[in-house]
């Protein structure tokens, strides 16, 4: 009995300390991100959704603490996932009330990462659960899977380069679920009968969309006007 009690005590204690460690790790990453109060970035955005034919466009991204985020296309029309690409690290970390749980380890892009699950304690939060893949050595979030209340699940993969010291990625790939798109031909006035019949694999692929942004430059802590976010 004593052995069982000892085991349970040790197990509980180890879980407790492990959980504490994860909070510490998350707080370290947050602290690194907190060094940035605002940024303006230039990039090129590619929208890869099966039912969208769009060219690559130049974009400008603005961020301001605590969680203001705006993506603007340099003129023209932009197509973004419902809910926006505004689900990013800064918006996730803007919430201070969360529980972090260790969920093992994984390799992302050839780098060993800690898998951490963040559960917001605020019941009204739009984010329900976030799983982060953290590169512990460099304090960088390599991958993030976020489930939201309104807009489903997003998967965000980040590749770092020259702005890694600010935890700002050079490339972000944003994967999301899409719904079927179809309009009656009577509305679009298309007369031909060459509708492509999709296989099950193609249908499944069509339900996933990707937005890729390659950042070319960041202007960090130079001040961003509030009017940009309106």
């Amino acid at each position: 009995m004593r052995k069982v009690l000892l085991f349970l005590f040790t197990f509980h204690f180890s879980l407790f300390t492990y959980s504490q460690d994860m909070t510490a790790l998350v707080m370290k990453v947050k602290a690194k991100l907190d060094l940035i109060s605002d940024y303006e970035a230039e990039g090129r955005m590619k929208t890869d959704v099966a039912f969208i034919k769009a060219p690559i466009g130049k974009v400008r991204v603005y961020y301001k603490k605590p969680n203001q985020f705006r993506l603007k296309k340099d003129g023209g029309i932009s197509l973004l996932p419902k809910g926006g690409v505004s689900v990013n690290m800064n918006t996730v970390f803007a919430t201070t009330d969360f529980v972090s749980l260790a969920s093992g380890e994984a390799v992302v892009d050839g780098i060993k990462t800690r898998v951490v699950k963040l559960l917001p304690t605020n019941e009204t939060s739009d984010i329900v659960l976030t799983t982060m893949y953290i590169d512990e050595a460099n304090l960088l979030v390599k991958k993030m899977v976020t489930t939201t209340r309104e807009n489903g699940t997003y998967e965000i993969e980040m590749t770092y380069g020259k702005f890694a010291r600010y935890a700002l990625p050079d490339k972000v790939v944003f994967a999301f679920n899409t719904k079927d798109y179809k309009l009656p031909r009577g509305i679009t006035l298309e007369f031909d009968d060459n509708e492509k019949q999709l296989t099950d694999a193609e249908k499944l692929k069509n339900k996933k969309g990707r937005v890729e942004i390659r950042y070319t430059n960041y202007l960090i802590n130079k001040g961003v006007s509030d009017s940009v976010f309106n």
Partner: protein, 291 residues
């Protein structure tokens, strides 16, 4: 020949009926512009309701290029009816007034006479299209500005960059000219058969409406005959607004998804025009002119 065409054009533009088409196009486009200027956002919301479930579209969707596309989509189905007003009256109008027999006493061959009338009809059709282009494209560019063009197709959506649109409209209007000339040729052919113009105008309109409905119906039994109907190919101008994508699903700027389809449709329309005009000449040369 040129003198004959000039005389025919003079006769066309002397008739009040000719200006009905110009007035109708001006009125219709004016109403669309007024409505979209006043409450365009509601129209865009309605248009985007399906796509908005998974994608957020940001930017100036309702710009001059978009309004022009909306106008063309609505009007290019109805402009044939306006063309029929003049084309189907070209020979029967003369017969009705009793001037056809007198004109054919002049030392001009019947073929030349008929071709001059047809060329004048084509000139009228082109003028109507130029007027449509001025109002639908240039006036809308002034009123609504220019931006990227976002188009909803039945199975996908297309986003065209601002700099990649104008040339497509020029080609689209060129193609529309071919489509409208086909209608003019049909109306012209019908105008040979009786002295009453109204009958021919109604007959031309009926054929266009009948064929358009057949082209629109997605019933397997009709799909077999659709490729042979000129109305199916008349909307080929839309193909200029479909863009090709590469293996990475990136749209290739300056490309057209299916140029062969446009060429095929253009060829079908040219064959129809040639067929209608040839049939008109053959019938007219053998016709006993009694009025």
């Amino acid at each position: 020949m040129w003198t004959l065409i000039q005389i025919e054009l003079f006769k066309i533009f002397r008739r009040p009926r000719t200006y009905i088409a110009f007035a109708a196009i001006t009125g219709l486009i004016g109403i669309i512009q007024f409505g979209l200027k006043l409450d365009g956002d509601s129209y865009v919301d309605f248009m985007m309701r399906d796509i908005n479930s998974s994608i957020t579209v940001e930017g100036k969707i309702l710009n001059g290029y978009q309004v022009c596309y909306i106008v063309l989509q609505i009007l290019l189905v109805h402009v044939p009816l306006l063309i029929a007003l003049v084309a189907a009256d070209m020979i029967s109008g003369e017969a009705n007034m009793g001037t056809l027999r007198m004109m054919l006493t002049r030392p001009i061959s019947r073929t030349k006479f008929l071709l001059a009338k047809f060329m004048a009809t084509v000139a009228y059709t082109l003028m109507l299209l130029v007027w449509l282009a001025i109002l639908a494209l240039f006036v809308n560019m002034l009123l609504f500005g220019t931006d990227d063009l976002f188009l909803l197709k039945s199975q996908y959506v297309v986003l065209l960059k601002k700099d990649d649109i104008f040339w497509r409209y020029l080609w689209a209007f060129g193609f529309a000219a071919l489509a409208m000339t086909t209608v003019a040729a049909l109306g012209f052919l019908f105008s040979l058969f009786a002295e009453n113009s109204i009958g021919h105008i109604v007959a031309t309109m009926s054929v266009i409406i009948f064929f358009t409905i057949l082209s629109t119906l997605n019933i397997p039994v009709f799909n077999k005959i659709k490729p042979f109907l000129f109305t199916t190919h008349m909307i080929g101008w839309k193909e200029f607004f479909d863009i090709r994508v590469n293996d990475a699903n990136e749209a290739i700027i300056g490309s057209i998804q299916n140029p062969q389809k446009i060429l095929h449709s253009a060829l079908v329309l040219v064959l129809h025009i040639a067929g209608f005009v040839t049939a008109s000449i053959v019938i007219f040369r053998r016709k006993d002119i009694l009025s």
